[in-house]
Amino acid sequence: MNPRHVRLLVWKEFIQLRRDPMLLRIVMVMPFVYLIMFGYVVAADVTHLPTAVVDLDHSVTSRQIDAAFSSTAYFDVKDRPTTEAALQTLLDRGDVRVAIVIPEGTQAALDKGQVAGIGIVVDGADSTSSSVGTSYAMRIIGDLNQARAEALGAGALPGVDARVRVQYNQTLASVNTMIPGLLASVLMVTLMIVLSQAVVKERESGTLEQMFTTPVTRGEYLVGKLLPYGLLACAQSAITAVLGTWWFGVPFTGSVWIVCLGLLLFMLTTIGLGLLVSLVSRTRHQAQQTIMFVMLPTFILSGFIFPIESMPAPIQPFTKLIPLTHAVVILRASFVKGSGLADLAEPLLYLVGFAIVIFGAAIVAVRRRLSE
């Protein structure tokens, strides 16, 4: 790898970028447009929220409550931790989004004719699921109270009183959910579109052929090609992040390093995908169509717009195959929940895997397809 060659290639790429004011404008305006669009997005139908029931009372009533939550399609009771500490871990990792905490003495209080308080904890990081989840939970508790009153044949008996506690994104602002995810989405759109054109454009113009009669190696060519757009994508992410936290007031409570690591891995994956498309396409038009074909399912399945829990069960495993899914998880958890490395190990490892497989495949394809 000759740094002089790479520098020269980067210089050339920047001149070309400057001469293509449309592309530059689109890339720089995109964060604003997307932020406005997604910053005020409204919820979709939410079902199958992953839920935990913490039963500390072990009584008839507590079992009734558990059964009521287990039998509706709105909640999927995934776990029944025995302590509040165990629950915290589940929430931190994002394994559950809603928790019902039935404290010890609930049954006793009711028996004495007192109001018994139970807790509903919702994860506000995904504002859509949590606000909808809260209202579902309140309704179930209300139904339970009514059923109990009817069974006892009495009028206004003191019943179970649910107190909602929102964890993380307390205001349930949907921007706090959308904007972190947007960071990855904008990055993906830019890199995929620009890079899918990158190589096929040079193939079409014949410059690729000319390039390989010079001492430039394929590796140098690749780095010279990717570096400028990587930098561009970083600038764009910075704009999105700054606007998101400053204008939309999205809190950032996590680790900058984790966000950078996640975005870097995601960037490698996206660059690899764009490059693969560019390498296998014969014309720019073909590359464009392929990208459109890839992009839409990615957005829909990633959980960026629609909560994954509400998707049909057979579809859900496929969401794990979408790199954006994991990037969105990491970003949301980092911004709103302040999750640490241990909590985010799974999505990070997924991204490492994707980066290795997809970027690796792109490198292999470069060796093969560039010389054709």
Binding site: K12, Q16, G206, T207, Q210, P215
Partner: protein, 282 residues
Amino acid sequence: MDLTVPEGVLYGLIGPDGAGKSTLLRMLATVLRPDAGEAAVFGSSVVREPDRVTSQIGYMSQQFCLYPDLTVAENIEFFARLRGVPKADRRTRAASLLAGLGLADVTTRRAGRLSGGMKQKLMLATTLMHEPKLLLLDEPTTGVDPVSRREFWQILARVRAEGRTVLVATPYMDEAERCTHVAFMDAGAITRRGTPAEVKASLPGRVLEVSAPDPRAVLAAITGVEGVRQAHLLGDHVRVLWAGDATTELTKRLAAAGITAAIDDVPADMEAAFSYLAQEAG
């Protein structure tokens, strides 16, 4: 396919469209890997040592292959720097090449906005910046006006005079005429080679020009006559490749058709040689 190009010659590659001229040049330039076989450029294999080959050659493909959004000067600078041409040389060579090709006034224009001929000239200039020992040119003057073509060939002659080698595929027979050697290629094989004089001398007969007011009638009348190896219209007369000695039979036929025509012997040229070789191959 077997071809040896001696050092220091201006070698022309001619042949019908689709004969494989571009493919041959692309393989020699290492941009296309041969499926089988081997070629060496100054002793280095194009398959096993492409890096040693590319440093010694300049390759100009048939299609425009520079960056349309970079200026003339930037394109030259970019490729010269990639090939490691020192700064001082870059400046003097670029100035002399651009002046020699009449591009000195358009150095700040974007390459994509040049005319077809200017694009070709810019490609030649870019190809010559690192003073390659071997130039591989694929129909370099397609779309170039006659004056510019002359400038082109003056530069090629100068390159050759400096002891460097040129291998050029060309569809123009006047250009083939200016080469020191030519090879006729058809269906991936060389069917005739030698100096232009040798190739022309290999024609089986003399070239006649039959002029008459209606050349089409002439063509119709002489087609099939014994001794006419080939006949075709060329402008307002008919070109005939005549294998016989005296032209009495030809005159007789024309007279029978009621045509009075003048028959002149003309020197065989590459045009005639090409037509004959192409017909023989086809």
